[in-house]
């Protein structure tokens, strides 16, 4: 279908829904790389105006990726909840933005609406939102998930303790875990990116994390971020896996490039559920996403990267994850060129994920070949913390010595908690106090002395 927008005497025309969406997207390098971006700012705003006039229903009838050849599109359309959608079904994209900003959109109504929204509707409205809109609306959303603690409650900011080591050395990993725990990190998950996908190495790390969590009675969960098929095989061999991890994307072809489809994700979820290791809940999946991954696999179907990214959240929500993490600055400058583009993308991903009912966290990060630095990350961290981000990463001194990029540090999380009065997950907060890492009482102050329960561990070191 053709869409057009007149501005003065000039009429802009767009040949398809995907073209309107792509050209309405705020500028970023990945869309230029794909050749789908607007020619200039005026064409971009014309596309945004055309998009604002589209009825939300349009997205149920015209698909940016063909229904017949893409299982993600089929998932989105086949599982759409028309009753939940009814409350906004009469609105245009522009009207939907106004509704989201109004008092009608609140924690309860947004949770009820989530199954009625498709990724493309949410991506579309994000494209006509300013940064403050992305923050205000996301802050209204509440997505709560549980395994051994409760993630996503109001006034909480959780952290993934990411103790990566370039050779998976157990003592090296333990050193970073120790450092993180002493700084109050790790309530979302203690999650290791292994250096290789080798099953024996992965089994060793899983067993180790299991023992640390048991020994110190920590109300949190562990995860080795290996391929889903590796986790399934490890479970078959008896590994004590809490969360099953997988990188996911928004098209069938991009997922194929990751070596997965919906069926194998289902197998992964079933395998983890079968272990029944959660104590307060059964959200057993941990997914990671990021704008640009579909284009990177040449599997984007001419769709802009932000729309494709949002479709990955439909994949995620099918499997009721504990955590979803957009690794926003990891992919590099060919997709998000600089700090400005990374900041906008992080806020979009969080907004879109939360509207779809996904427990959205963000790896606030950059690589050394991007035009970004610590100041950019401080801005995104502060903005996302105000927006109610579910969790962020925690790593010693912001430096991931295995994956070779920079993300938020243990100190960074404490900064965000301090300036905004945010707390970790309640069960973990209690543990931080009883174990002596935090001072007792209501304040969130780190204790000045080493907790007794950890004296013994250090005493074994020479």
């Amino acid at each position: 279908m053709r869409y057009s927008q007149s501005i003065g005497t000039h009429t802009y025309t767009f040949d398809s829904l995907r073209e309107v969406m792509a050209k309405a997207s705020p500028a970023r390098s990945g869309d230029y790389l794909a050749g789908v971006a607007a020619r200039d700012d005026e064409e971009r705003i014309a596309a945004q105006m055309a998009l604002a006039n589209l009825p939300l229903r349009t997205f149920l009838n015209e698909h940016v990726v063909p229904y017949e050849t893409d299982e993600v599109t089929r998932l989105i359309i086949d599982e759409h909840d028309a009753r939940a959608f009814a409350v906004v079904s009469h609105l245009t994209v522009g009207g939907f933005r106004d509704w989201l900003l109004s008092g009608a959109a609140n924690e309860v109504s947004l949770a009820a609406l989530a199954p009625g929204l498709t990724p493309e509707m949410v991506a579309a409205v994000s494209k006509i939102c300013r940064v403050q809109d992305l923050i205000l609306v996301a802050q209204k959303c509440r997505v709560v998930t549980k395994f051994r603690n409760t993630i996503g409650l109001k006034g909480r900011l959780s952290t993934r303790l990411q103790p990566n080591h370039p050779t998976d050395d157990p003592t090296g990993i333990a050193a970073s875990i120790f450092d993180g725990l002493m700084y109050g990190s790790g309530d979302a998950v203690i999650g290791i990116n292994p250096a290789t996908d080798s099953i024996p190495a992965v089994m060793t790390l899983i067993e180790m994390l299991h023992e640390v969590i048991q020994r110190y009675n920590i109300p949190t969960q562990s995860c080795i971020l290996s391929h889903v098929t590796t986790s399934i095989e490890a479970i078959n061999r008896g590994a004590p896996i809490d969360l099953v991890f997988q990188s996911i994307a928004g098209t069938e072809a991009a997922n194929k490039s990751f070596g997965i489809d919906l069926k194998v994700l289902q197998e992964g979820q079933d395998a983890a559920l079968g272990l029944q290791r959660g104590t307060v809940g059964n959200n057993v999946m941990y997914f990671e996403t990021g704008q640009g991954s579909a284009l990177s696999a040449n599997a984007h179907h001419g769709v802009d990267q932000q729309t494709i990214e949002t479709r990955a959240y439909a994949v995620a929500r099918k499997f009721k994850p504990l955590l979803v993490n957009t690794v926003v600055g990891f992919i590099g400058p060919e997709y998000l060129y600089d700090g400005k583009q990374i900041i906008r993308a992080g806020l979009e991903d969080h907004f879109c994920g939360k509207l779809l009912g996904v427990p959205m966290g963000c790896d606030i990060c950059y690589t050394n070949h991007a035009e970004a630095d610590q100041n950019d990350m401080d801005m995104l961290l502060t903005l996302l913390s105000v927006a109610g981000i579910t969790f962020i990463m925690g790593i010693p001194g912001s430096d991931d010595i295995m994956l070779n990029y920079q993300t938020t540090s243990f100190h960074d999380a404490l900064y965000a908690r301090q300036v905004l009065g945010l707390k970790p997950a309640p069960e973990f907060e209690d543990w931080l106090r009883t174990s002596g890492i935090f001072d007792s009482g209501d304040s969130l102050k780190l204790a000045d002395t080493l907790p007794k329960s950890f004296h013994r561990a250090l005493a074994h070191l020479h």
């Binding site: 157990p170 003592t171 050193a175 099953i199 010693p396 100190h411 080493l450």
Partner: protein
Amino acid sequence: MSNDSDAIVVKNPWGKLRQHTSARIALGRSGTSLPTGPHLEFQLAHARARNAVHHELNTVALSDALRARGFDVITAHSAAESRPVYLQRPDKGRRLDAPSRSALEIRPADTEPADVVFVIGDGLSALAIEENAVAFLDAVMPSLKADHWRVGPVVVVSQARVAVGDEVAEVLGAKIVVVLIGERPGLSSPDSMGIYMTLGPRSGMTDESRNCISNVRVEGLRYDLAAHKLLYLMTEAKKRGLSGVLLKDEAEDLSSNAVTTGQNFLLSAD
């Protein structure tokens, strides 16, 4: 003024853990924030990593070192004509430029196609290649020879992404391609090399067809261990007719000196 800081900064009494990792642990805190010292050390490391990204591969020195070891060496260039283009156009880094492709195509065909071709690419850290590529080949070649692998020419590609190896190997008709490439520089490891192995390489393949061994460098994965893993993967790929996610790396099972226990100070018994 340092005496003032000493009184204000809260130190962490677990500094001795630093002998077990190069991670930035036990940094201490000012309030809950990063103290001035580690803050500025980080800024310096970032400035150095930025420099590494823009360092140019010395292909002449590399080719000389390879030829001295008896390799047939071919130098080539990707379709990305400069570093700025390379950084923003990964598609160009995955293809050879026209002259490089022609040079490979007009090369007289080998009497028998090679079992394996090594492609060396600068990737995001030419430093990683300059420091590790030759030493790794020295570690892996004796085993390859002992197992009678027919090794083709070594192709050195500037402004290369991993997938350029597929095109190179396709033109040369090799059964397996092994790409040695500079990984993106980290703050503590500007010199980390990645190894990608693909069976039946052809243009347009995606990452699920590859097996990766990463962080090969003196302070990371040792050359002999990386060589052991690669040989295992190549042998299994040839035997089972597949590479990538369907081929799991179980090399540790076969290695006598690999770490197989997760024991550490956090889990020590009394």
